[in-house]
């Protein structure tokens, strides 16, 4: 007898075959077409183990250690390997309470129970030594060495900069950095990051689902060795830097000292300063916030980023341009009626008429107004005259960044003719309109560093090397663009006139800084007062010494302190004396400078 439903066996066989076919098709897709699974599989099993090289050290120009590394330890935990832990004992060892412990573990577990996370950052060496002995009692916990920057001399915080954890933007931009890695955030630490950091060593190991190592991946074929960070020798003189910071106690402002023959920066003081050790380790976040909210802005790197009208020191530039353009000679005399002079009054009583050297000595405003007028009237069209003046000015390094290894410079501002066209119309301005420029006030803005460079240019009689901070990297000399002469547009012999004037500032009977002249050192300088529309004027001074073989060129700005002669000049000479002789003779001046408080509430 034939079973009436016998044919249904075909349907059933068909269903079996259909399911088999569907499986084969799906397998074809996930095993052959879709390659992402292969990648996911590798991500599953290959862990990169990084070896962190020690960051390069930083030495000053006399090989004095300025920055080194101190070992600290992070307490790490892998939550799913924690077993039978005496929580209380561990809490006591690392000095936290049980609630913090539980909260922290919960947070870490939320991230991953299999991967290692930092449980407690930067435990001191002492605690670690103690902890390591007992660590066998706490499975799942281990310590991982890390290094922190340490500053044996708490100076030059702005210049050296600081190191912190790589932020998200950087992690996205540069795949070298992984979350938790340290990176230079400002100053030299940032500029020389690539050099200082070295290169992480990468070991590829196979791990199982519990993150346990199971051997190396392809016998270490793709592993890379760690490369140590390279040491930097910088141009700063740590002692001079420290002295400068001391002199600027309770003052706002900058000191920049350069070696004119090389462009090397000897001191770069930004005041108020802070101890770089504050921005290290666990306390960094808290301290950073505090510094950030300080009304005196200690984090602000004034020498490079503050801009001021240069004041009377700019008269030197105008004199040089006038000599170069042949609109005056060093013997040209102009008269001065003292405070009654128009359109610009003179702030000093002195003999009249006077020549250029005498005018520099007493910083006679009317003299330089007249000189400036001569420059501006040299061409038929003031636009052409101004353009010439501007080009000369730019050749001194004003109005642009030096673009060396300095972190976060600003350009300052030297206006173009078009700037005045916009305000006054093309025909609407005359020398009279821009008369402030003759005495370094008005529209121009310069940084203290540019002023120091001006001082170096004059010391060099007409050229400069780009101011820079690094002397050698791992005992190799730095890039040669630091050692290229940048010539100004002024003939060298004109500088001698100016230098004589600057010498008379100290030596002349009516010299504006005659009270601060040094016994055995021929110092050349020029006072300045930067007008400050927001409060008391800033005291400015530039100087170099010795006159005939300049070793140091300096610029000092003391904010809200009035005339240049009063504060910036003595601080400059103290710095010069200290650098050239290693000590200062007039201790009472030093004391007075250190003790005076010039921080006002504006």
């Amino acid at each position: 007898m034939k079973n009436p439903y016998s044919n249904r066996k075909y349907i059933i066989k068909g269903v079996f075959l259909l399911v088999g076919l569907v499986f084969v098709i799906k397998l074809f897709f996930i095993q052959i077409i879709d390659k992402t699974y292969i990648l996911s599989a590798q991500n599953n099993v290959i862990r990169l183990i990084y070896q962190f090289p020690a960051r390069g050290l930083i030495f000053d120009r006399h090989d004095k250690l300025m920055v080194y590394n101190e070992a600290v330890y992070d307490l790490m935990v892998i939550p799913n390997r924690m077993q039978d832990i005496d929580t209380l004992e561990l809490c006591e060892l690392i000095g936290i309470d049980k609630e913090t412990f539980v909260g922290q573990i919960e947070k870490i577990k939320h991230y991953s129970v299999r991967k290692a996370s930092v449980f407690q950052k930067q435990i001191s060496k002492e605690t670690t030594a103690y902890l390591e002995e007992k660590l066998f009692k706490f499975p799942g916990f281990y310590v991982q060495p890390r290094t922190l920057r340490k500053y044996p001399l708490p100076v030059a915080a702005h210049t050296v900069g600081y190191v912190g954890e790589a932020n998200r933007q950087l992690l996205e931009k540069d795949c070298y950095y992984k979350s938790g890695d340290y990176v230079g955030i400002s100053g030299l630490e940032k500029t020389y990051e690539q050099v200082l950091r070295g290169r992480k060593g990468i070991k590829r190991v196979l791990v199982d689902v519990f993150n346990r190592e199971k051997g190396s991946f392809q016998d270490g074929k793709y592993d890379t060795a760690m490369i140590k960070g390279v040491n930097l020798k910088i141009t700063l003189d740590a002692e001079l830097q420290e002295y400068g910071e001391l002199l600027m106690t309770n003052k706002k402002g900058s000191i920049i000292a350069l070696e004119p023959s090389t462009g090397e920066i000897l001191a770069l003081v930004s005041s108020p300063h802070y101890d770089p050790n504050l921005l290290v380790g666990r306390v960094r976040g808290k301290n950073y916030k505090k510094l950030q909210h300080d009304p005196l802005e200690p984090l602000f790197n004034r020498p490079l980023t503050a801009t001021y009208p240069p004041g009377s020191v700019f008269k030197l530039v105008n004199s040089l341009i006038a000599l170069q353009e042949n609109v005056v000679t060093q013997h040209t005399k102009y008269s001065c009626e003292g405070p009654e002079t128009r359109p610009i009054k003179c702030s000093h009583y002195h003999k009249s008429p006077l020549n250029m050297i005498e005018a520099i000595e007493v910083s006679c405003n009317p003299y330089f107004w007249k000189t400036f007028t001569a420059i501006m009237k040299n061409e038929d069209d003031i636009h052409d005259s101004f353009e010439k003046w501007r080009n000369h000015t730019l050749s001194f390094g004003f109005g642009s960044k030096f673009n060396s290894d300095l972190f976060s410079e600003v350009s300052g501002f030297i206006p173009e003719p078009g700037y005045f066209d916009k305000y006054f119309g093309e025909k609407g301005w005359r020398p009279m309109t821009i008369r402030s420029l003759s005495i370094g006030q008005g529209e121009i803005l310069v940084t203290p560093l540019q002023l120091a460079n001006l001082s170096a240019i004059i010391a060099n009689r007409g050229y400069y090397y780009v101011p820079h901070l690094v002397k050698s990297i791992d005992n190799h000399k730095t890039e040669k663009n630091n050692r290229e002469k940048n010539h100004t547009t002024i003939k060298p012999n004109y500088f001698d006139v100016i230098i004589e004037g600057m010498y008379q500032v100290f030596e002349g009977e009516e010299g504006t800084a005659r009270w601060y002249k040094l016994d055995n050192i021929a110092v050349c300088g020029k006072t300045g007062t930067a007008e400050n529309p927001h409060g008391k004027d800033h005291s400015v001074f530039i100087a170099f010494a010795p006159k005939d073989d300049p070793q140091i060129a300096i610029a000092v700005v003391v904010e809200n302190s009035g005339f240049g002669a009063t504060w910036a000049a003595p601080i400059s000479t103290l710095m010069i004396e200290k650098y050239l002789t290693g000590t200062v003779k007039k201790k009472w001046v030093e004391e007075q400078m250190i003790n005076v408080i010039l921080i006002s509430d504006n």
Binding site: F16, I32, Y37, N44
Partner: protein, 434 residues
């Protein structure tokens, strides 16, 4: 009636021949398929849990060493089954069924709870899962009942008996919290289909499953509206026939009610973890750390195998435990990872070959009992095969049932061996009316 007399003669003759040796009439093809699959299983269990400190495949502290014990004991079981007279299985099918249902009740009270399911008897170091045995006895009892001469599938009474027969162990297993094993009993619908269960019931079943999936995926009001549109459209075409119109409206009401109750059932009957599994499967939830983790890791393991696989013992995903349950429910991952597409193809081909061979064997039986039992075996294997491999490649929900002969485990290997070899024993006497 004459046929019966002839059968009787033949029967005696066969008995005479049988004494010459028990392997004379045996189906060697299916035996070969069985041993091939068991061997593949053992090697893959070795690869899945392989570790350096226990290199020997015979190390009985490891799953692969123990699997060898289960394989060896299976040989004893095979011999025993083949020694027993084929008539025994028919004659004792109902008592065996009653015993196994009884054991299922007892295990609810005396069983050991493993991973939330109370389905194991623990006798010393020996653990035994009565639900595995119940599959065999239910297949036998079903064959016995459906093959009885008074049975008529069209009758309501028959349907109720069948529902009770299949439903009793199913519900008991469900009560053990072993939903996966309970679902296996649905596979007997395939047997009933072969024996004349209306195709409409199967189609209705498929429609119900499809509607359930849609109901869980799409807003129920949209489905209702869509259904309404279809019904209205149909009515407009055939509006003259009033009886059909009424039927259609009735159908619409039932379907709407069903759609609404699916959501209710989903939220109130399924456990939260089961809900998540369904949601992950339907693509409504992506949860790679939770319920989706297993399937995702399983797909990574299989997918990373490529065309020829990473080679024996070179699968990193399974060996390093990224795939959970890698020697039991997810054993197919090791095949996919280490043997690649080719290896997977071979395993699937072996299963399809086994299934088709079983159907062939079932169809050549003179005895209706043997044929129905054969279909029972095929249905159970098919369900395990389809759900297990489907689960590892993300085509079926994660239901914890083993892959026959490949997955590690004594109870399941024994149960599948018993299931298959009773059929082989029956087939050996296929000319008899057992």
């Amino acid at each position: 009636m004459g046929g019966r007399a002839n059968d009787q003669c033949y029967f005696n003759f066969r008995q005479l021949r049988q004494r010459k040796g028990i392997f004379d009439n045996i189906d060697w093809v299916i035996i070969a398929l069985y041993f091939t699959l068991v061997l593949i299983g053992w090697l893959n269990i070795y690869a899945a849990v392989y570790n350096e400190s226990h290199r020997s495949i015979f190390d009985i502290t490891q799953n692969y060493g123990r699997q060898l014990i289960w394989i060896t004991t299976s040989l004893i079981i095979i011999f025993t089954i083949l020694m027993i007279d084929a008539k025994f299985y028919n004659a004792f099918s109902i008592p065996l069924y009653i015993i196994s249902v009884f054991l299922l009740v007892v295990v609810l009270f005396l069983g050991k709870e493993v991973a939330g399911a109370r389905s194991w008897f623990q006798l010393g170091s020996f653990a035994f899962q009565p639900s595995e045995l119940a599959k065999v006895t239910t297949a036998l009892a079903l064959a016995r009942y459906v093959s009885s001469s008074s049975f008529n599938i069209k009758k309501k009474k028959a349907k109720i008996y069948i529902a009770l027969l299949i439903g009793a162990p199913m519900i008991l297993i469900y009560l053990q919290n072993d939903t996966g094993s309970a679902l296996v009993y649905f596979s007997f619908l395939l047997v009933l289909f072969r024996e004349g269960l209306s195709g409409k019931i199967m189609i209705t079943g498929v429609i119900i499953i499809m509607l359930s999936v849609i109901a869980l995926l799409v807003n129920k009001f949209i489905i209702t509206g869509f259904l309404a549109l279809i019904i209205i459209f149909t009515i407009m075409i055939i509006r003259r026939r009033k009886a059909i119109v009424i039927k259609l409206i009735g159908l619409f009401i039932v379907a709407t009610g069903f759609v609404f109750s699916v959501e209710y059932a989903f939220e109130n009957i399924l456990e939260p973890h089961q809900q998540t599994r369904v949601n992950v499967l339907l693509g409504k939830e992506v949860d790679l750390r939770g319920a989706g983790y297993n399937v995702n890791q399983s797909k990574i393991a299989i997918g990373s195998g490529g065309f020829t696989g990473k080679g024996f013992l070179n699968g990193t995903q399974t060996k390093y435990d990224f795939v959970p349950e890698q020697s039991t429910d997810f054993i197919f991952c090791t095949v996919g990872e280490e043997w690649g597409f080719l290896g997977s193809l071979v395993v699937i081909a072996l299963y399809i070959g086994l299934l088709l061979r079983i159907i062939m064997i079932a169809e050549r039986q003179r005895s209706i009992f043997s044929r129905i039992y054969g279909y029972g075996v095929a249905s159970i294997f098919f369900f395990h095969f389809a759900i297990n491999i489907g689960m590892t490649i993300g085509l079926a929900p994660v239901i914890g049932i083993p892959l026959p002969f490949l997955s590690y485990g004594g109870s399941s290997l024994w149960a599948f061996t018993i299931l298959l070899f009773i059929l082989i024993r029956l087939d050996e006497s296929r000319q008899e009316l057992v």
